[in-house]
Subunit: 316 residues, 2 copies
Amino acid sequence: MTKLLISLAALLALAAPAIAQEEAAAPSPGEIVAQAPAEEWITIPSEDLLVMTLAPAADGSARKVVIQLMPAPFSQGWVANIRTLARAEWYDGVTVNRVQDNYVVQWGDPNYANPEAQGVAKPLPEGLREMSEIDYISDEIGQVLAMEDVEIDEDPYADSTFFHQGWAVGGDTNGAWPVHCYGMVGVGRGMSPDTGSGAELYTVIGHAPRHLDRNIALVGRIVEGMEHLSSLPRGSGALGFYTAEEAGKRTPILSVRVASDLPESEQPAFEYLSTEGDTFASYADARANRRDPFFIVPAGGADICNIPVPVRRVAD
Amino acid sequence: MTKLLISLAALLALAAPAIAQEEAAAPSPGEIVAQAPAEEWITIPSEDLLVMTLAPAADGSARKVVIQLMPAPFSQGWVANIRTLARAEWYDGVTVNRVQDNYVVQWGDPNYANPEAQGVAKPLPEGLREMSEIDYISDEIGQVLAMEDVEIDEDPYADSTFFHQGWAVGGDTNGAWPVHCYGMVGVGRGMSPDTGSGAELYTVIGHAPRHLDRNIALVGRIVEGMEHLSSLPRGSGALGFYTAEEAGKRTPILSVRVASDLPESEQPAFEYLSTEGDTFASYADARANRRDPFFIVPAGGADICNIPVPVRRVAD
């Protein structure tokens, strides 16, 4: 790892005339992504998108959150359960019950796995699979494949971390697993070896809690509307659950729908930047070595959660 | 790094009778901290505490934020400027102008360094020092000392990361610098080589933006009231600034005071867990190797921002 105290860009700024400085200005990560050719953007299948509609905000504005479910080979049992729960309209009327600062926002039945629960748990629909902890990792992706992808070095939580088909994953000789970055969506559960059904979901709203990797199933990520969850008032109960006195702060979830089940005109469309293309490699390098004009010292590295995979909405 | 697929605790849970399981249950990081002897808690000097009072919330409740300023040898020029600005009551009446999801909340003069600025910048008081980028690192702490502290391995941003007198720092052969973890407070600035005066401040509300290390001065951390900043509505302008149309969302800052300047009865008191003591070493190890009953697989490591230094309010 090269640690330059004064970057090349800064040296040029001292030595070169103004016009040369402009020519030398390195593009920012965002500018690199904006130049990606169309063929490096990959459409997200509409059956992998969930549209979660929250009750309107206090000022009356609509709050929609779009979640991208994870494709194979990761967590497919839970992902199938979540589609089953959405199609049974089971999530309609549940609430956001837990907002723990620098950790997670969690939604589901307020009477399940909640230290503040006061009622009877909502019955689950038929047909949910029971998953086990061996499903937390996939042996379909191993070290060999990892070497072909954009790999990120020096991770304290995994032998290697890399990007695979649009997702940040960790791996070792046993297989690979998705990692807990900001905005990732996972399956709440009770004490191990319970692995959860998919009825309780959470998203990460703080520093990546990577110690949860391989301990909780990750099933997707928020691709739009994250701010509707991350800015919710924090709960003052244990683990950030809203107390009984704060029950009025529980945000109601009006509905959760698989996008492909919606009328075509209401289906959102998203695409992600291929993590196997040249642009993503340049983008990841620029995230690790910021040389755009604001920066003085490029870091010389980045952790995998500081290289978010670019996702964008496709205009109607 | 040992990667056990099934932890010792999980094996015991399978093999041992219930009573033995309870005896074998490993303490959580929080339980370890709760057992720390009194002498491992170190009082934070009241001149290192800033009390920032925001306008009351929509429901009328008070919003106070307490910031711990960083002690020597880090960023002392900016820290001195911030005390000067607070004592000149310069911050009184400024606002929170920028809330960028998964990044920062920034407060200061809405007409300074703000793409949405529409007025004239507020004049600064006399006596502020001008700092330079060489002040971003301290050569008083180097690799030798690092070896004596609790060191965290495998960091992509620094040759080594470690804890020093209550702070997470990175280092290389040139010196050491504080690192951008959740809740850290830094000095907003314009394009390099500007280093900012301390009039514009921000705190991290997302995944640690470690690429800012050595590029922006860190001056402290939020020790109470973080939720009043992290849950603010996100701005929809460039970089998360509130647009002119959203000016009503700018939270007013009523006052910022150095705690030692307050009447004694109003001075908050805080202490942090010594990062040089046995308890912190056990705590850091437990954060990296979770074996308390919820967990199935201990990570075998942790990044420095996933080991927050415990800080607590001292009861009156």
